[in-house]
Symmetry: C2
Subunit: 182 residues, 2 copies
């Protein structure tokens, strides 16, 4: 089967760390040529990201500090899946928690793995339109500090140049919107 080409069979799997968000393991694998190698792997629950467009045709963004990068960047709203949660439900929840918006329409766009070389994190991307501010919106996790922004496509392109937008999902979203606008 095409999707199993060059399969690497697991010989042993060693759990290194079980965390709140990620698990780490090292697998010994048998390569297609019969030799063996090690694979350092991260298990992640998966996430959603939301391309949310206001009635004024602005893109909803959040600025937040990313400890892994030791800087704040501007991203489209996103969040992790809870165990067993359908991505569409996560998307609605995260949109409301991070931005205070509910959407009239929430359409699936695409899904992708972020770092297939070492992690199984998948992001399900949705497009939200018909945004309305909610009174008493859901609140986010108490260790998340985000600042809401709404930017035009031109402003977003400038933010990419300045590397204040600097992550794959947000840059993909902006190219997707350019494509939509033809």
């Amino acid at each position: 089967m095409m999707t199993k080409k060059f399969e690497e069979k697991t010989i042993t799997s060693e759990s290194i760390y079980k965390g709140k968000i990620i698990d780490v393991r090292v697998d010994d694998v048998e390569l297609p040529n019969g030799q063996s190698s090690k694979r350092e792997l991260i298990d992640h629950p998966g996430a959603v990201a939301i391309i949310a467009i206001t009635d004024e045709n602005k893109i909803v963004m959040v600025e937040q500090y990313r400890k892994a990068l030791e800087k704040s960047i501007i991203e489209i709203p996103a969040g992790k899946l809870e165990p067993g949660e359908k991505p569409e439900i996560t998307a609605k929840r995260e949109l409301e928690e991070e931005t205070g918006y509910q959407a009239d329409t929430l359409d699936y766009v695409v899904s992708y793995y972020t770092s297939p070389g070492f992690a199984n994190e998948i992001i399900y991307v949705y497009e939200a339109r018909g945004l309305m501010k909610v009174e008493d919106a859901l609140e986010g996790d108490d260790d998340e500090f985000v600042e809401l922004m709404e930017v035009t496509l031109d402003e977003a392109l400038q933010l990419i140049k300045e590397q204040r937008i600097h992550d794959a999902k947000t840059i993909h979203a902006i190219y997707y919107l350019m494509q939509q606008e033809g």
Copy 2:
């Protein structure tokens, strides 16, 4: 400074694992509200990806097994930075190793973090044109098995639908090319 907004100061940092490709650590951080939280973090050396276009206007792709996903996917050529290596050098090397091509022109496109919530992996993206097959091309790592493909933009869009192209960098590359072609 804007890029330090909501900074999370490190209180303690615990090394969990030092691997061949990734290191894992857990940081205790002080949040902007004075409370503390834990951050599970992956250190990664960074990588390059190459949008390589043949004279027949086809996109050069490689199919390879991704242990983290337990399936084979089709991606643009990519590879990790060696310590101290300039991304442009890595891009030339990986293009030749994975595809057997050298390029007349290699232009920087953009860079982005793949998973800013937990990893500092950054990808530097280059566009390669004027491709020529090299005799006695550099050979890749001996634990890498890849199969070369060359696809049109329409074929690439179909491969996204079939989820045989299923990672962020390759999907970004295809949107980038659609944008280029107007």
